[in-house]
């Protein structure tokens, strides 16, 4: 044992609650290859209120976790990481946690996750990932979209070795866009379900905050939480609100939030390995251009209104278990071009309201018929029309980078042509 270590141990005997001093001793002991003694000192950090044992602050706990990793005390490292989290540490926690988990996995120990717990001031509790049970089988239609997502997003998680061989890895940024009510959120959830990883849903209301700098902190906390739970899917719903185009911004207060999101996506001071960031937006044109550059949301997936087969399937699900007679859902699906899932739900509800009215007036309980549905159809307009009209302008004038190629192809599809010809049936 060197003189320096001996002197420090003497000092420590006089000030046993000094965590920085103890960390210094541990560091020197490890440098001298005295792992067992270092491990014993590690156990002395933070004693849950026991006398003579100092409670580490966030930075000290993090430093202790690093030294515990060096000493091969992985469980102790995770305990100290927990302590660091409780103290509000964010930076670097995900990386350490990943290393500890990898080492634990080698030993066959079950993976542990470090998640923020409650605290007083500062950022709010970050979202905790859920494991979605929804898969692509639960999403009606959209076969092309599901196939694209499966190839580009799910498979890198399932067969990482294949993709690694070609220099690709799981994660990155994918942006789902399309008219409202067409299943973007469900698709995102199903994507996480297919990947078999946790799903963190971050909504605009959870991020935006009236106080200066707080929105950026909320966003950072969400990303750090996701990194700590990686591999996982971080879903940013209504991305256009979080990353509203800085060119169109009516004030200056929201711009730092876009900058923060760019930093998080670029993983400045952090590691986004195995973190899939899924965004969804109805208004791709309102998303800041910088987010669509390579390395950020560089994969765009257009989620169109459901096609005729999907509409048939959705109608079947919506009307399942209802008293019905002689329904021709295939015919009805053909008469509802461009209707979103939400529109079809509205159509079904209106038809059922009519049946209930008849039941109340007549006393009997008539089944839902095709006439009820056709009558409701006369009052239901596809809500996607306005979106498609706006999108047409962007296809025509703002498609230089090819962002709207899929929309352009959809605008030439049978459904759009059918919608132009379609006249709602007269009211019954």
């Amino acid at each position: 044992m060197s003189d320096r270590v001996r002197a420090l141990l003497d000092a420590l005997a006089l000030s046993p609650a000094s965590v920085p001093l103890r960390l210094m001793v541990i560091e020197l002991l490890l440098a001298e290859g005295r792992g067992d003694e270092a491990a014993a000192q590690l156990d002395e950090i933070g004693g849950g209120g026991e006398p003579n044992r100092g409670e580490p602050n966030a930075a000290e706990a993090l430093q202790g976790a690093k030294l515990a990793m060096q000493a091969g005390r992985l469980e102790r490292a995770l305990e100290l990481l927990e302590a660091a989290k409780r103290q509000g540490a964010v930076e670097g926690v995900a990386e350490l946690e990943r290393s500890a988990n990898a080492a634990l996995a080698e030993r066959g120990v079950r993976r542990l996750r470090v998640v923020r717990t409650g605290e007083g001031s500062g950022p709010p509790p970050a979202p905790v990932g859920e494991r979605p049970t929804v898969t692509f089988a639960d999403v009606g239609g959209l076969e092309d979209v599901k196939k694209t997502i499966h190839r580009r997003i799910v498979m890198p998680f399932r067969r990482p070795e294949l993709y690694a061989a070609y220099g690709r890895r799981a994660g990155g940024g994918v942006l789902l866009f399309g008219p409202p009510g067409c299943g973007k959120t469900l698709l995102a959830r199903a994507t996480a379900g297919e990947c078999g990883v946790p799903f963190l849903n971050v909504r605009m209301e959870e991020i935006l905050d009236p106080y200066f700098g707080q929105s950026e902190r909320n966003l950072h906390a969400a990303f750090e939480s996701a990194r700590a739970q990686a591999p996982c899917v971080l879903f940013l719903d209504e991305l256009d609100a979080i990353a509203f185009s800085r060119r169109k911004h009516r004030g200056a207060a929201g711009r730092p939030l876009v900058d923060q999101l760019l930093q998080e996506l670029d993983a400045i001071g952090a590691d986004n390995r195995d973190l899939l960031v899924l965004g969804a937006t109805n208004a791709l044109w309102d998303v800041d251009d910088a987010l669509l550059r390579p390395g950020r949301f560089d994969r765009l997936v257009f989620v169109p209104p459901p096609d005729v087969a999907a509409r048939r399937e959705i109608l079947g699900i919506l009307l399942r278990g209802k008293p019905q007679a002689g329904l021709d859902l295939a015919a009805l699906a053909a008469e509802t071009p461009l209707m979103s899932g939400a529109d079809l739900r509205s159509l079904a509800e209106r038809a059922i309201d009519r049946v209930i009215e008849e039941a109340l007036e007549g006393g009997a309980e008539p089944p839902l018929s095709q006439a009820h549905l056709r009558s409701a159809l006369a009052e239901t307009r596809p809500s996607t029309l306005e979106w498609l009209q706006r999108a047409r302008s962007y296809v025509e004038f703002a498609n230089q980078a090819g962002l709207y190629e899929e929309v352009a192809a959809f605008l030439k599809s049978k459904d759009v042509k059918a919608a132009k010809r379609w006249n709602p049936p007269p009211r019954a």
Partner: protein, 289 residues
């Protein structure tokens, strides 16, 4: 304070939502506030949210509620004026604007706004006087430059309007208003190629506002319309007089045969001018690019 806690600082949260053009969320945040603490700001935010959501009647009512408490509030007076203007109530819009101008008579932006309003009502001389006053206060005012361009356009001075538009765009090439005015002026002058050069690239940045004008510029510069250039440049009546004159003169001075050929050619050209433009327009709109 936790994210999503709408009960804390709802006015600030509503402002954040309005900045990113989310009027419904702004109204939801305001629904958790009361006007007691800061009535002017509360009613102003409500009015702005309704205006952004294209509900000028509701915005006007919200502004009126605010003005009942703070009758001299300039922001509220301006929002109410804007609501009245959108609803076509020009006299009421003028009254609200004058309420603001009485408090800030030397504010160029207000003078120009008033100038635009009276120009819309056909009072071009009064608008010019307001423009002169605004320029006296601030010779470099962009608002004044915009108003000057509008007045030149309304007065039929396309050359001056186009010049003004070019100066505006030299300062800020992404100024949608300037692009729209310049594009419109160039189209009116028959300078379709120049209009296309100005409007189509700008429409890439703001397709919703400039898309219609850019589409029109594309149609008018289409090769199928090149034969109709005299019609677009001089108008149908001068072209008719010119053609008929030429046919008559040719009949007198040359031979009736040549005159007949000219007459038939003119007739075919007329049929072309009736049939091709509407078909082309439909095709361009349907094709979409």
């Amino acid at each position: 304070m936790s994210a999503g806690d709408l009960s804390a600082a709802p006015l600030e949260l509503a402002e954040r939502y309005l900045e990113i053009e989310r009027p419904e969320e702004a109204l939801a945040a305001l629904a958790r506030a009361t006007p007691d603490e800061d009535p002017e700001r509360y009613h102003l935010l409500r009015a702005e949210a309704h205006l952004l959501a294209e509900r000028p009647e509701a915005a006007r009512d919200a502004a009126a509620l605010g003005l009942a408490v703070e009758p001299e509030s300039i922001p509220l007076l301006l929002v109410r004026s804007c609501c009245h203007e959108r609803l076509g109530e020009l006299a009421a819009a003028e009254e609200s604007l004058l309420g603001a101008l009485r408090q800030l008579p030397d504010e160029p932006a207000l003078l120009c706004r008033y100038g635009r309003l009276v120009a819309r009502g056909g009072q071009l001389d009064k608008a010019r006087r307001l423009l002169a006053e605004a320029r006296r206060v601030d010779p470099d005012s962009r608002e004044a430059a915009r108003l000057a361009m509008l007045l030149d356009y309304l007065a039929g001075d396309d050359r001056a309007a186009a010049e003004g538009g070019r100066r505006l765009l030299a300062d800020d090439p992404e100024d949608s208003h300037g692009v729209a005015m310049l594009g419109l002026t160039l189209l009116e002058r028959g300078d379709h190629g120049a209009a296309r050069e100005v409007v189509v690239p700008a429409a890439a940045l703001d397709p919703e506002r400039l898309g219609g004008l850019a589409r029109e510029a594309r149609i008018r510069t289409h090769p199928l319309l090149w034969p109709l250039w005299p019609l677009q440049r001089f108008g149908s009546v001068p072209v008719w007089f010119g053609a008929v004159g030429l046919i008559l003169v040719t009949g007198r001075l040359a031979s009736p045969r040549v005159s007949s050929i000219l007459a038939l050619t003119y007739l075919a050209w007329c049929v072309y001018s009736w049939v091709v433009p509407p078909l082309l327009r439909r095709w361009v709109v349907r094709r979409g690019r």
